[in-house]
């Protein structure tokens, strides 16, 4: 009986909402850390990039000491998410458009959602974590 309960898998839908630019605050990096920790629990994970969160996925980030900023460039980690079965990355179309960005500017494959689709996806979640 106890074993049966232990084996019973509860898979919840987790959504991480990212709305901050990558280096000005620590939110983006912290979100990524939580996503990676959460990935160990085999849940159904989605990531949404809205407002300045879209900037987290900008290609060609160079934070090296030589370039000047001297910070950890965590943008490559988004490309590794696939290996942790985190494959559902959604970008808000309006946020991308008003920043003059297109899918070609992003370092990972994402699904672009309009407001109706984004709202629908959010409504399907069990847990929503905001950063």
């Amino acid at each position: 009986m106890e074993d049966e309960m232990m084996d019973e898998e509860v898979i919840k839908k987790f959504l991480y909402v990212n709305r901050k630019a990558p280096y000005g605050t620590v939110y983006a990096l912290e979100s990524l850390e939580v996503v990676l920790i959460g990935a160990a629990f085999d849940q159904d994970v989605s990531l949404a990039f809205i407002d300045d969160g879209v900037y987290q996925l900008k290609k060609d980030q160079n934070t090296s000491v030589d370039a000047g900023a001297g910070m950890k460039n965590f943008s490559k980690t988004y490309r590794a998410l696939e290996a942790y079965d985190v494959e559902k990355l959604y970008v808000d179309k309006k946020s991308m458009d008003e920043r003059g960005l297109s899918v070609d500017d992003l370092l990972v494959d994402v699904e672009i959602l309009d407001e109706a689709k984004m709202a629908e996806m959010m409504g399907q979640q069990d847990v929503v974590l905001s950063f």
Partner: protein, 100 residues
């Protein structure tokens, strides 16, 4: 006088208020998340381009590069500076106003 803006124009109104209240001839430096205001193609490009008629606008190049952009992405008329240029701007101006 030098004005500095280090917040994204999409997240805070620091840049808009700075541009609204800066006197003609004042220098404006965009750094950290403020560099998004210097980039071509955003919703804020017309506002920033307009400011260039009365003010010199500078952007810190290392903060641009950290965020995946470079000199090519910057609105025409905005000057890129490195850290030494940042120091020169502070030294050359009588006062600095930081729009946080």
């Amino acid at each position: 006088m030098l004005h500095t803006v280090n917040k994204s124009p999409f997240e805070k109104n620091s840049l808009e208020t700075c541009l609204r209240l800066a006197s003609a001839g004042n220098a404006i430096l965009l750094f950290e998340d403020g560099v998004y205001g210097a980039v071509k193609g955003t919703r804020f490009e017309p506002t920033v381009s307009n400011a260039l008629t009365n003010n010199k606008v500078y952007v810190l190049v290392s903060d641009l590069e950290a965020r995946g952009m470079n000199t090519d992405n910057v609105i025409d008329g905005i000057e890129t500076v490195d850290y030494a240029g940042f120091v020169d701007l502070v030294a050359d101006n009588k006062s600095v106003q930081s729009w946080l």
